[in-house]
């Protein structure tokens, strides 16, 4: 958040329409994403009620549990869901690329594509995480046996939820967060959590403006919640009687159909919103770094998919080394993601210019051939003076890079009183003592420099799990799923 976003929100109020926060799309959008709209039973941790899912707007599949307290029905639901999710996983691998072998000579491959899942909101991710947690430890033989696909689903859902935590990953995205990355509305972030209201501001239906569309979206009758929590009035007045009828019915199917119908009616509006949102996002041009980030997602998918059969279900909690390593990875991903979005999008960079971590302006002086001859060997160190009105917060000596071409690095030498910044360029100009043509900005050129992404650090070293030090409790017992895990109640 910054005054820039706040200003966009004010403009949204004034115009009655959402205002752009991005000029490009900062996420990958698969050609055929798997849209999932889950519902859960109120009062339960992860009792699935229904899910509407599919990869095409016109072709939703509804899975429902007519009596959510019945364990067998839940596992049947999980098996049905597993079938569809695993199909999506297998269908989204694309062509396998052969990569140059790793340093140790090991063969490396990368799948040409990866399966993307879209859910309405953060709570949807939380539900998938819980569903994954409640199914991944299940055994497929012996007592409490479930369909072999159920624990596989659990592991995949857990993997997706973990991947979602990673800044910039697009394997599992929430629609509200993705839209909010690109548009500012005239309501608060809490209200933006309602997908219908958020879309109402971004793309109001014919004849309505943002506020009117959002107001309509807050009526749970006209616009059922996007889940996974259901509307209490729906529960009490519609769903409960339908489930009670199912319990009485003894299986002639009509009561089950009735439960499915009322759930479908709750889910369909959100399903439609999800696809409308996909359309809006698709209309934005893709940011330059999106492809690279998706490649990281594909790498992660390739690795998890190709080692799946050798692996165990993910542990309940991260042991010490994994926790530290993961935090480190996430922080690195966050830094890279923040920098890439700014480099890709002048509107995002404007936020950093306002906060003083970047500055833009016109080059007023340029000495591209300047050499620093104070050392043993001369070094190419062009000087550049940039006139800027931006509220700079960087100090003399700060390392910066060029927003348009981040390889071009430099440092701030002097900050003039009248808003001129003198830069010494230090890298990214080629190996010779004269810069490569066109690399050093010329007088009159508009440029933007920033400290973002300059201090990016390499991957850190961590001990192996078996070397977990005494300060952290020593090596953890190796995790092996137990019968107890498999027998865990799901009530």
């Amino acid at each position: 958040m910054s005054a820039l976003t706040s200003l966009a929100q004010l403009e949204a109020v004034a115009t009655g329409r959402a205002q752009p926060l991005a000029t490009v799309r900062h996420c990958h959008l698969a050609a055929e994403p798997l849209v999932m709209v889950p519902l859960k039973l109120a009062g339960e941790a992860a009792a699935p009620l229904a899910v509407m899912l599919g990869t095409r707007a016109g072709d939703p599949v509804l899975l429902a549990v007519p009596q959510p307290r019945n364990r067998d029905l839940r596992f049947a639901f999980a098996a049905d869901l597993a079938k569809l999710v695993l199909e999506h996983v297998e269908a989204s691998r694309g062509r396998t690329e052969e990569l140059p072998p790793a340093k140790d000579g090991e063969e490396r491959i990368r799948y040409g594509d990866a399966p993307q899942i879209l859910v309405p909101n953060r709570a949807g991710v939380g539900f998938l995480r819980m569903l994954g947690r409640s199914t991944r430890f299940r055994r497929t033989e012996g007592p409490h046996a479930v369909d072999p696909s159920v624990p596989r689903l659990g592991r995949w859902l857990t993997w997706y939820a973990d991947r979602h935590d990673r800044p910039g990953s697009c394997l599992l995205m929430t629609m509200t967060e993705t839209l909010r990355l690109h548009w500012a509305t005239g309501q608060s972030s809490l209200e933006d959590g309602n997908l219908a209201a958020l879309l109402g501001w971004i793309d109001p239906p014919e004849g309505l403006d943002g506020p009117a569309a959002a107001a309509r979206a807050e009526d749970p009758v006209e616009s059922p919640p996007a889940g996974p929590a259901t509307d209490p009035t729906f529960d009490n007045e519609v769903l409960a009687p339908a489930i009670a009828a199912y319990d009485r019915d003894g299986g002639d199917g009509r009561a089950e159909e009735r439960v499915r119908d009322v759930l479908a009616a709750q889910l369909t509006p959100t399903w439609d919103l999800m696809w409308r949102a996909v359309g809006l996002l698709r209309a934005l041009p893709e940011g330059a770094a999106v492809g690279g980030r998706w490649e990281r997602d594909r790498d992660a998918f390739t690795w998890y998919h190709s080692t799946f059969d050798d692996g165990h279900p993910q542990a309940r909690r991260d042991p010490a080394v994994r926790a530290a390593r993961r935090l480190h990875d996430l922080e690195r991903a966050q830094d890279a993601y923040d920098a890439q979005r700014a480099f890709d999008d002048p509107l995002v960079m404007a936020e950093h210019r306002l906060s003083g971590q970047a500055f833009g302006g016109v080059v007023t002086e340029s000495d591209p051939a300047r050499l620093d001859e104070s050392g043993k060997r001369p070094k190419l160190r062009p000087l550049l003076r940039v006139s800027t009105e931006d509220p700079l917060q960087l100090d003399v000596g700060a390392a910066v890079c060029n927003a348009a071409r981040p390889a071009l690095k430099g440092k701030i030498v002097e900050i003039g009183a009248a808003g001129g910044v003198l830069l010494e360029l230090t890298g990214g100009m080629g190996r010779k003592l004269v810069p490569e043509p066109g690399v050093v900005p010329e007088v009159g050129e508009r440029v933007c420099f920033t400290s973002l992404g300059v201090g990016s650090w390499g991957a850190a070293k961590f001990p192996e799990a078996e070397d977990t030090p005494w300060t952290h409790g020593g090596p953890p017992a190796e995790y092996v799923p137990t019968d107890d895990d498999a027998a865990e109640d799901w009530s």
């Binding site: 935590d165 926790a323 935090l327 922080e331 850190a460 070293k461 001990p463 005494w470 300060t471």
Partner: protein, 445 residues
């Protein structure tokens, strides 16, 4: 946890009380504990303890590594150890980009290298935690980890393989480690990477001895009880000097302006609250920035002289610091200081940690705010800002902070298994304000 920090009786002098704790710490180093923890309130002689412990271990023939958090802290420690114990051979392990400071190279006993192998013969090897984390082999029988509460436990995880036993020293009242990403996933785990190194260490080794340095040699008698009550309510400390032992005087008399009255109040009582009229403002509130800078410049102009147990010395620009919560405030204050105050230190709480001045001028983190956030309420932030001074602290704030605190909603999420943090920032702020209110000078009276 064995709490060995019981305060000696009131009849014990501060010097004796502090010596008793240091003696107990050194004794514990040879008792076979894997770790020893020393909590040090602001200015309680933490660095002195590190120097003594290093010399003690070296004298016992142990090789040891010292872990500090920043290059500046590394150089500070080298300067002190090499100055006090020139016979101890010291290695400074550093990144290739590090340029050795003059105060390091001035000592013949110090060798600087980028590879640990080049320092194998050194009794003491010292580096930042980040540098230690790049090593994958080699072990030292002992480590001293300085500023251990500022270090995240994931950093400790990366370096703990390098030592067999360790002395952990730090100030539990300072700023907590933070992250730019969501960390809820690990809440409640004893090895949560976001917890401080000490917290994780003690969670897994609850029987380690924990000592507390009982005396602040920095904070004057006017400040130690105030800071202790607000930020260390369960681990109180006292000042090493008595009420009359320190005096702040000005060569030039005041002219009766509100700035002068605030400075006079600070000189006579050790504290002043310079209060601007209530108003909601941006962080870079021009009036507040202006007042903060003007107070610092005026202090310099009036030629302060600090009388203390160390003798009398002028309060020059190098003995004055200005503290604020945000970087943009720091930039604005620097600009407002102009050339008169150009050499006065201005920094954020994060960067002022561990530093000491005669007089500080602090822009209150909650000044002019409409709502408090967790960032602004964090007790460590105010604690750092209010505990850097040897003589006096002038706080600049807009009126209305008590109302803001009263109106603050208490809806913080609670995670199971996470120890409650004391003091609560909200309580600590209330406590500090209650005290400052007694030293108020209104800007427009």
């Amino acid at each position: 946890m064995i709490d060995t920090g019981a305060a000696p009786g009131p009849d014990t002098g501060p010097g004796a009380a502090a010596d008793a704790v240091v003696g107990a710490v050194l004794a514990d180093l040879s008792r076979g504990h894997r770790g020893v923890v020393v909590d040090s309130p602001p200015g309680a002689g933490k660095s002195t303890l590190v120097v003594r412990a290093a010399a003690h271990l070296a004298a016992a023939g142990e090789r040891l590594m010292i872990v500090a958090q920043t290059n500046e802290q590394v150089d500070d420690l080298i300067e002190r150890i090499a100055g006090k114990h020139p016979d101890v051979s010291i290695g400074r392990l550093s990144a290739s980009t590090y340029l050795p400071a003059a105060r390091v190279t001035a000592h013949a006993s110090v060798r600087v290298a980028t590879k640990a192998d080049d320092l194998a013969d050194r009794t003491v090897v010292i580096a930042t935690a980040a540098k230690w984390a790049t090593l994958t082999d080699g072990t030292w029988p002992w480590a001293i980890v300085d500023e251990a509460y500022q270090m995240r436990s994931d950093m400790l995880l990366r370096i703990a393989g390098r030592f067999e036993r360790a002395l952990f020293v730090g100030d539990p009242g300072q700023l907590d480690p933070f992250s730019t990403v969501e960390v809820e996933r690990w809440a409640g785990l004893t090895w949560d990477p976001m917890r401080s190194a000490v917290s994780v260490l003690l969670a897994h080794n609850p029987d380690l001895p924990v000592h507390r340095l009982p005396v602040s040699w920095r904070l004057p008698a006017s400040a130690a009880p105030v800071v202790s009550d607000a930020f260390y309510p369960f681990t109180r400390f006292r000042s090493g000097t008595g009420p009359g032992d320190r005096r702040l005087e000005y060569a030039a008399g005041g002219m009766g302006t509100t700035y002068d009255r605030a400075l006079d109040e600070a000189a006579s009582s050790g504290w002043a609250l310079y209060e601007l009229p209530a108003r909601h403002a941006l962080r870079t509130d021009g009036q507040a920035i202006q007042a903060t800078a003007a107070l610092a410049v005026r202090l310099l102009q009036r030629g302060g002289v600090a009388h203390s147990e160390q003798g009398s010395a002028p309060v020059g620009a190098d003995r004055i610091a200005v503290g604020a919560a945000h970087r943009d405030q720091v930039t604005a204050i620097r600009a407002a200081l102009g050339e008169h105050g150009a050499s006065i230190t201005v920094d954020t709480a994060n960067r002022l940690q561990g530093r000491e001045y005669d007089v500080t001028v602090v822009l209150h983190p909650l000044s002019g705010r409409r709502d408090a956030t967790a960032f602004h309420l964090e007790s460590g932030r105010l604690c750092v800002l209010a505990s850097r001074h040897r003589h006096a602290c002038v706080v600049v704030a807009r009126a209305g902070i008590p109302e803001l605190l009263d109106a603050h909603p208490s809806t913080d999420p609670v995670h199971l298994g996470v120890p409650v943090k004391f003091p609560d920032g909200w309580e600590a702020n209330q406590s500090m304000l209650a005290h400052l209110a007694r030293h108020r000078v209104r800007a427009h009276d």
